[in-house]
């Protein structure tokens, strides 16, 4: 493609180049700084770090507070992911395979937690849970997290189901396999990449969530992001950087897994 060149071309070309560079640097800066600062051998948060040491990671390892919070977060994220996958899979399947009255309403409701202001959603859940008496419990936190995962899970699995080659299912049925066998041996395996991508993305959505958890967590169910939040709100030292680095690494691994199995843009894109 050849474009005629004049001054405005040159400005747009180099201006665009600089602007894009700025944006990419801006995107990764917080993560890079936090990981860098976590290796400091000094006692203050600084970047570039003074020397190199793993002392702050040891501090995290021996901190009851952080380890318990990490355990809670992991347990919560895994449980919520399993539930969200079951609900999302059946929901996405119904949306893909049936036409019924109220279908678009049903779809809009499934996707709505992504655009409802999180504070509002949190308060709605908080008052509901205290009304039925499960506030400050693990169950309340669990279903809150399931709800915020649903849009991503339904969208990822919905795209996967839409792209699935249905003639393969028909071949299986024509060859005499029953619908349950076909589902188990043909549909689910074909859908596996979408299920993995939806699952790991759901996991990290829950693992990193702070806005909802701040409202729904109690003293016995403090999640890691809530713990970081309450630390950062008062004062902070390199321990927070070390524990944050662990969150960054987990997040990065999840992104790479998604990129490997289905491509990132299928989960977060349109």
């Amino acid at each position: 493609m050849k474009m005629t060149s004049d001054l405005s071309d040159i400005i747009l070309h180099y201006g665009g180049f600089l602007l894009r560079g700025f944006v990419y640097v801006m995107m990764v800066t917080p993560a890079v700084i936090v990981v860098g600062a976590s290796f400091t051998s000094g006692s203050l948060l600084s970047f570039p770090p003074e020397g190199f040491s793993l002392q702050w990671y040891e501090r995290v390892w021996s901190s009851d507070q952080f380890m318990r919070a990490m355990g809670t977060s992991a347990y919560l994220a895994i449980a919520a992911t399993v539930i969200a996958l079951v609900i999302g899979l059946t929901g996405a399947f119904v949306l893909d395979r049936y036409r019924f009255p109220g279908r678009s309403m049903f779809q809009a409701l499934m996707l709505s937690p992504i655009i409802i202001p999180m504070v509002v959603l949190a308060l709605a859940l908080l008052q509901f849970m205290s009304w039925i008496g499960i506030n400050q419990t693990f169950a309340g936190l669990l279903f809150g997290h399931v709800l915020i995962m649903l849009p991503y899970v339904v969208r990822t699995l919905g795209t996967g189901l839409g792209l699935l080659n249905k003639t393969l299912e028909e071949a299986s049925l024509n060859l005499g396999a029953s619908p349950p066998t076909t589902l188990r041996r043909v549909t689910i395996p074909l859908l596996a990449p979408s299920i993995i991508a939806a699952g790991v993305f759901a996991f990290v959505t829950s693992f990193g969530n702070v806005t909802l958890s701040v409202f729904l967590a109690s003293a016995s169910t403090v999640t890691l992001p809530v713990q970081i939040f309450s630390f950062v709100e008062s004062s902070y030292d390199p321990t927070v950087a070390a524990v944050s680095s662990i969150v960054i690494v987990i997040t990065l691994v999840v992104i790479l897994v998604i990129e490997k199995v289905v491509g990132v843009s299928r989960v977060v894109g349109k």
Binding site: M1, R20, M27, A31, G88, R99, L150
Partner: protein, 294 residues
């Protein structure tokens, strides 16, 4: 009720039964944890007193109080102003990046896309903490500026509107970028090539071809960024401190600190209604932009 199966895996025989079994989990969760809680929230906002416990009666007094509360109205105005500023900055920065991502070959796109998705996936509190380390009194930026001899005592970079806008832009920019990328990647490059072949320069091609193509993506991206910004509360609380008041942080305070649930509920309902009105009107705007195509 007319239920029409769409594949051989969902046979016509017994379709009502299987349909009911399949829809049950999601239906129950949506009713129990979305619809009923929101009805409860609406009810809570109509309580007359300042406490929810054992309260009775229906009254619109919470809303009445809010609409004459100068502090609340100024917070609302400030929140909207910040939302608009963040949305515009995200559009200006996000459009070129989203557009170039859509046009890059898959291999070159991979790492750039991962860089864009990272802040979106990473825990918000970690992102904000990272910026606190950069912008703080003894932070990276202050140390750098002092090292270069540009300043001789640390500048106060947090606890003001500028830093809140900056951090919110960084958080929500990925939504803008992905929104533009999604729209542009569905459009063939042939239009831009035709424009170039016909002798248009970059500026003309940009103005007459690229911008109209990306317009729906920019509009929906800006809307999403605006909605996310007006409901933010972690960032204004940690980066803005007490100087930047946004509605999300005020709701959090009402609930967690002041324990005035009815007032917090009324504020939440107002925020929710504004969000819904925005979404509905944006759909109308984007229908006009795409000329009736969806």
């Amino acid at each position: 009720m007319k239920i029409i199966p769409q594949s051989s895996l969902t046979p016509l025989a017994g379709r009502r039964f299987w349909f009911a079994v399949l829809i049950a989990p999601s239906f129950l969760v949506l009713v129990t944890f979305l619809i009923i809680p929101f009805l409860g929230l609406a009810r809570l906002s109509l309580l007359p007193g300042e406490r929810a416990f054992d309260a009775e009666g229906v009254s619109a007094i919470q809303y009445g109080k809010l609409f004459v509360d100068g502090y609340f109205l100024s917070v609302l105005a400030e929140t909207f102003a910040l939302g608009a500023i963040v949305a515009v900055i995200c559009a200006v920065l996000g459009f070129p990046v989203g557009y170039s991502l859509a046009r890059l070959p898959a291999r070159a796109r991979r790492w750039r896309l991962i860089a864009v998705v990272l802040p979106l996936t990473l825990s918000l509190v970690v992102v904000v903490f990272g910026w606190m380390v950069v912008l703080g009194r003894t932070g990276v930026l202050n140390n750098m500026l002092m090292g270069m001899g540009l300043i001789d005592r640390p500048l106060r970079m947090v606890f003001n509107h500028g830093s809140v806008v900056f951090v919110l832009v960084q958080q929500f920019l990925p939504f803008m970028i992905l929104s533009v990328m999604g729209v542009v990647s569905h459009v063939d490059t042939v239009l831009e090539e035709a424009s170039a072949n016909l002798g248009a320069n970059r500026l003309t091609t940009f103005r007459r071809v690229i911008l109209p193509i990306a317009a729906p993506g920019i509009v929906s991206g800006m809307l999403l960024v605006f909605i996310l910004t007006i409901s933010a509360f972690i960032t204004p609380r940690l980066i803005g401190g007490s100087r930047v008041q946004m509605i999300g942080a005020v709701i959090y305070e009402q609930i967690v600190v002041l324990l005035n649930w009815p007032a917090g509920a009324a504020m939440s309902i107002i925020l929710l209604l504004i969000t819904i009105i925005l979404l509905v009107s944006a759909r109308a705007v984007s229908a006009i932009l795409t000329g009736g195509r969806t």
